[in-house]
């Protein structure tokens, strides 16, 4: 009898794991295919073998500049920023148990943007300074939101509303800074308000790449603890999770990667918001959604960038396209929450 139950659960879990692995591999495959498409497509379409030769460091007439200097950094920016937004957004949504509680909606990306824009326009600082400032901007925003929403008892609903307010304020600051910065034209403004992969170069991307490579293993190692946190503070504690330490480590890691992604590409609208829920729907429940959320982030960014570049007569930055995708989902969520009557 007992063996039967163990067996039943074992079979169920094996089935769910198989689906998880299958979906994750499939997502990785799509992300990979999109990355190659990013390298091949442009004003001139280069065949795979030319792209490979450029990547191997060979000099190819025309392709070396277009692929090596323009398209490759653009693709890398999309991959790392997409991954960072996807993972970071998922961590926040899971930890706070609410899809609205994510860096885009509660103003963390806006905090990073504001700090970055301030450094660029007012201080005319170097890239390094901009990266550091955007991390501090993101962290400071988190701290302010948590302090303001503390009150007599912590409520996630209040945290989200305060976050939305702060985000609006920070966006006003960004708009103001862009207005007083004389040399900055419309495309730059778009970058800091909704995100763009234009003008990415490898030198500026290195802080983002290093941080993502460094912190992803840390976040993954905390995956099980994150699952326990989902059961609520008390259950997690009694299962032996040091909730304060775990939460601090998760917040710091995800804010770091999100802020650096924001410093590189601007806050690509709604990617942090959409990736987690999409990944969860695809892989099912029972296994960690961290990596699938990152892969969905990559796919959203690269696919949206390709659409923005090639689907219309005019070229649109990636954030405009992700914004068009994300807005309906936000409205859907708000309607659903309104029906349930609970933020």
């Amino acid at each position: 009898m007992k063996n039967n139950i163990s067996n039943l659960i074992f079979v169920g879990r094996t089935k769910r794991r198989r689906r998880y692995i299958l979906v994750t591999s499939f997502l990785a495959l799509i992300a990979f295919a999109l990355s190659w498409t990013m390298l091949m497509l442009g004003n001139t379409i280069y065949p795979v073998q030319d792209v490979v030769r450029v990547l191997l460091g060979e000099e190819v007439q025309g392709a070396s500049f277009a692929v090596g200097t323009i398209r490759f950094p653009r693709m890398v920016a999309g991959v790392f920023a997409g991954f960072a937004f996807g993972v970071g957004g998922h961590i926040f949504q899971t930890m706070l148990r609410n899809p609205l509680a994510n860096p885009n909606v509660i103003g963390i990306t806006a905090g990073s943007s504001a700090a970055a824009v301030f450094c660029i326009i007012v201080l005319q600082a170097s890239n390094m300074v901009v990266s550091i400032a955007s991390v501090f901007g993101g962290l400071a925003t988190v701290i302010v939101i948590f302090l303001l929403s503390k009150g007599s008892s912590f409520s996630i609903g209040r945290l989200i509303l305060i976050g939305i307010g702060i985000q609006a304020m920070l966006n006003a600051v960004i708009s103001y800074l862009l207005l007083i910065g004389k040399h900055h034209d419309i495309p730059t403004a778009m970058r800091w308000l909704s995100g763009s992969l234009n003008g990415a170069n490898m030198e500026n991307l290195s802080p983002l790449i290093i941080t993502v490579l460094l912190f992803t293993p840390i976040i993954m190692a905390l995956g099980k603890q994150l699952d326990m946190l989902e059961l609520g503070e008390q259950a997690a504690t009694s299962l032996g999770v040091d909730t304060n330490k775990t939460r601090l480590a998760l917040i710091v890691s995800s804010v770091l990667i999100i802020s650096l992604a924001t410093a590189s590409t601007g806050p690509i609208a709604f990617v942090a918001f959409l990736s987690g829920p999409i990944a969860k729907r695809l892989v099912g429940v029972g296994f960690s959604t961290i990596i699938p959320a990152g892969l969905v982030g990559i796919i959203l960014v690269l696919a949206s960038d390709l659409i923005g570049q090639f689907a219309f007569v005019a070229r649109y930055p990636v954030g405009v396209i992700t914004g068009i995708l994300g807005a309906p989902y936000l409205i859907y969520l708000l309607i659903r929450i309104n029906r349930k009557g609970d933020l």
């Binding site: 139950i5 163990s6 699952d227 504690t237 009694s238 299962l239 032996g240 099912g284 429940v285």
Partner: protein
Amino acid sequence: MKPTHTFQTEGVTAGYDSQTILQEVSISIPSNKISIIIGANGCGKSTLLKTMARLIKPIAGKVTLDGKPMNKIPPKQLARVLGLLPQSPIVPEGITVGDLVGRGRYPHQTFLKGWSKKDYEAVADAMEMMNITEFAERNIDELSGGQRQRVWIAMALAQQTEILFLDEPTTYLDITYQVEILDLLTDLNRKRGTTIVMVLHDINLSARYADYIFALQKGKLVTAGEPSKVITSKMIEDIFGLQCTVIKDPVSGSPSVVPIGRYHNKMKMYS
């Protein structure tokens, strides 16, 4: 075979933010027995349980397990000895019953590893004990309140701790399920010797199922002992402010409290 533990609070004062609720409570939990904490609303019984389960840090005093202060024991190691079923745990959306019960195995699992054979056995054991094996692969959203409560208790059982705390495990349940859950917990205590400490609202069920009663009033321990010795009409009047008469429960022989309101008072009529 049955491991014993000493679990004590010494002069524990605790509360939330600026408000102290518990005042210098010192108790010693009898090992391998069922203890029930009773008291009026807001007397601090839940706060006491939470402080003992390290969910609240005491302002003064200490909580010790086998002589060691709780905060000196690594959390995961502690979670293999001491489990708690919180009052309102949160259900992750769309999870299966088996997977949720399996989360109780967290303190036994090592870094990044999947479920071991032992984990599967512990989960099956716990589900069998709580009579929920038929739901193993079902989605928890499909279950009723009473069934869900059994799933949560199974999760705490899968943790295989020798001490188990439960914060009002029967709240919001029909009387049938209340009795069923208390019976199942008694099974656990009699079969495995698990030390059980719980907060219960129902004084008569407490008197029936407890080996030992702790009565709190306004954050202080008023009395402690076996139900037949401590539950008297005077004690009930003291801690609940309720006039009553205590009779012998015809089924269990334990004390049973019959409240006296302003109406329905036959005794007064005859006297």
